[in-house]
Symmetry: C2
Subunit: 343 residues, 2 copies
C-alpha cells in the first residue's frame, strides 16, 4: 500500500510553497498564472487527490448529508431517496444512510452517530415529528430537513430550526374525495393510518370528512377503519369492512399498500373491482400501477420532494438561506382501473 501523495509533495515538485499549492487546489484568485500552471502539472503528474478527511478536520465541514428514514423497504422512499441522491451528487455531497427499522427509539442514537461523523445536514423521513423530536435534532446544531412527515410542533420558535417538505395532506384527501364523489360514488369508506396516533393521518381524515359534508353525505363511523400503512393492515381492515352489514361502494385507503391489501381481500371474496367495490389509494407508488387492477390514487411528488428538500438543506448549510420551514408541493390525482364513473 503506497503512501499517498500529499499536498506537500505537489508543492515540492512544483517548486512552490505549500500555501500556494493549497490556493490552487481551492481556486483562490491570488495566484500567478505561471505558478498555477506548475502546480496543476505537478498534481497531474503525481495523480494527486486531496484527502477529504484532513480537509474536513480543518474546515469542520464534511460535504456529507445524513439520511434517516423509518423503513428502507417501504417502496414509498425509493424515489424520494433518488431525488435526494440526485441533488446531493450534483452538489458534491455524499449521503450517509440510517434505517430506523420502524423504531423511533433508535432516532437519538442515529443522530448522534451522524453528529460524531460531522455530517453537514440531516434529512429525516418518518410519519410524524413533535416538539421533542425537533428539540433532539436542534440540540445537535445540525441543519435539518424533514420530508413527507407530519409536523406536529407546537412551539413556534422551533419552526426556525428546520425545513419541512410535504404535500397538503388535508387538501389532497379532500380533492380526492371530491373527485370520487364527482364520479358518482355516495357510499364512501376509508382506511386510515394508526388509530390513536394523532399525527399520522388526521389531516387526511379531516379532508375526507370535509368533502363528504360539503356534498351533504353523512360519514359512517362503521366505515372508518384503521391500519398501519402496510399491505397486511389494509387486507385486515378490508376484511373487517366486508363484515359490516352494508358494504360501501368505494374504499379510500390512505396508502397504496393498504389499497392493494384491501384489493386482495376484495378479490379473495370473489368480488370484482371496481364493479362491486371500488378502491382508491394514496401515495402514487409504482406498485399501484403494476397491480391488477391498477390502483387509482392521489400521487405525492416523491422525487421532487427529495430534490426540493435537499437543495433547500444545502442552501442552508452553505449559508445562502435560512430555513423557512413549511414547503408545500402539489399532489395530483391519477385515474386507473380500480375506480370508474358511475354516471
Amino acid at each position: 500500500m503506497s503512501r499517498s501523495v500529499r499536498l506537500k509533495d505537489v508543492a515540492k515538485l512544483a517548486g512552490v510553497g505549500i500555501g500556494t499549492a493549497s490556493r490552487v487546489l481551492n481556486n483562490h484568485p491570488n495566484v500567478s498564472k505561471q505558478k498555477r500552471q506548475m502546480v496543476l502539472k505537478a498534481m497531474e503528474e503525481l495523480c494527486y487527490r486531496p484527502n477529504e478527511i484532513a480537509r474536513s478536520l480543518k474546515t469542520q465541514t464534511t460535504k456529507t448529508i445524513g439520511v434517516i428514514l423509518m423503513d428502507i423497504t417501504n417502496p414509498f422512499y425509493g424515489n424520494v431517496v433518488k431525488g435526494i441522491e440526485y441533488i446531493a451528487y450534483n452538489k458534491n455531497y455524499s449521503l450517509l444512510l440510517a434505517d430506523l427499522n420502524c423504531n423511533m427509539n433508535a432516532l437519538k442514537d442515529r443522530i448522534d452517530e451522524f453528529r460524531d461523523k460531522n455530517v453537514d445536514g440531516i434529512i429525516f423521513m418518518g410519519t410524524s415529528v413533535n416538539d421533542m423530536d425537533i428539540k433532539i435534532f436542534a440540540s445537535r446544531q445540525i441543519p435539518l430537513a424533514i420530508i413527507s412527515t407530519n409536523v406536529n410542533v407546537k412551539d413556534k420558535k422551533l419552526y426556525a430550526k428546520f425545513y419541512s417538505v410535504n404535500i397538503d395532506n388535508e387538501k389532497a384527501a379532500y380533492d380526492a374525495t371530491q373527485y370520487l364523489i364527482g364520479l358518482g360514488y355516495t357510499k364512501l369508506a376509508y382506511i386510515s393510518g394508526v388509530q390513536g396516533d394523532p399525527n399520522s393521518s388526521i389531516p387526511r381524515e379531516y379532508g375526507f370528512k370535509k368533502a363528504l359534508k360539503e356534498n351533504g353525505i353523512q360519514n359512517r363511523q362503521e366505515w372508518n377503519k384503521y391500519g398501519s400503512f402496510t399491505f397486511e393492515s389494509g387486507y385486515k381492515a378490508m376484511q373487517a369492512l366486508l363484515e359490516e352489514e352494508e358494504r360501501p361502494e368505494i374504499v379510500f385507503a390512505f396508502s397504496d399498500l393498504m389499497a392493494m391489501g384491501a384489493a386482495k381481500a376484495v378479490m379473495s371474496r370473489g368480488f370484482r373491482i371496481p364493479e362491486d367495490i371500488a378502491l382508491f389509494g394514496f401515495d402514487g407508488i409504482e406498485n399501484g400501477k403494476y397491480f391488477h387492477p391498477s390502483i387509482s390514487t392521489v400521487k405525492q411528488p416523491r422525487y421532487q420532494m427529495g430534490t426540493k428538500g435537499t437543495s433547500c438543506l444545502i442552501d442552508w448549510i452553505e449559508g445562502k438561506e435560512s430555513p423557512t420551514c413549511m414547503i408545500t408541493l402539489s399532489h395530483s390525482i391519477i385515474e386507473r382501473e380500480s375506480t370508474q364513473s358511475l354516471l
Copy 2:
C-alpha cells in the same frame, strides 16, 4: 455554536496527560484504575464526544462502508440494504450510499467519491461484473464485497480481490423448473433478462433448459423471450408470447417484476391465472406476495445476502480474514397462487 470539548480539555480537567486520556478512551489496558476513573468522570462532566474526523485522519480508517447499487427504486434491494445496515450498525460502521441510476458509466466516479472519503470497504450490487470492473475496484485498494451480482471474471488472480455473495442461479432455475414439471406442466416458456448481455441470465436459462432436457421436454425457441427485469418489459414479453401460434401452459419469468408484468398482460386479455396460463417468478420480493394472484417464485435470501456480505467484508477490513470470493447461499421455492398442480 460553542467550541467542542477536546481530549486535551478532558485531560486537563482530570489532571492527567493527553496520552493517558487517549488510552482511557480506547480502553488500553495500561492505565491505573485511579486515573481511569478520573478521566471517565471528566469525560462525563464535559459531555465529551470524540471527534471521529480527527481520529480518522490519524488512523486512516473511517468506520464507514460505501454501498453502490444500480437502482434504489428496485424493490429487490430494500431487504438487502436492511441486512447490510443491520450488521454495519451493530459493528459500529456507517453506510455511505450511491445510486448508479442504472448507469454503469457512473461507477468509476462513485468509487472515487468513496475513495476520497476514505471508506474502509465497498459493497456493490448490480447485474454483473467483468474483469474490467474488478480492476477498477482493485486499483483503489479498498476491500470489496459484491452481492447478488453475476461474476463474469476470467482472470483467476482477481478472485483474491473481492467477496461475492450470491445464490446458485443455475441450480435455482433448475430446481424451479423441476418443481414446475413435477406439478405436471409440460409446455414451459421463459422470459429471461437482457438478450445479448451474456451475464445477466445465462445461468438461469441454462438451468431451465437442463431441467427440460432431463425430463425429455424440448425447449421451444419461440417461447424464449427477453426483458430487462422490469415490470414493463415483462408485460411486453408476455404480449409477444401470446401472439405465438401455440400458447405455453406456464411462463417462468426470471424476475418477480417481469412475472407481474406478464400477469397483467395475461389478465388484460381476459385469461385466468393459473387456469389458462400459469406464472412463476424469481427473487421473492414482497410485491409478488401482495399481487393478485400472488406469484409463485424462487426466493433469494435477500436479507441474509446483506448480512453475510457485510460481516465478511468487515472481517476482511479488520484483518480477521481474507476474501474467499464465492459465497453461495441457498434459495427456496415458494408456492403461491399463480401456479397449480395439474395432476
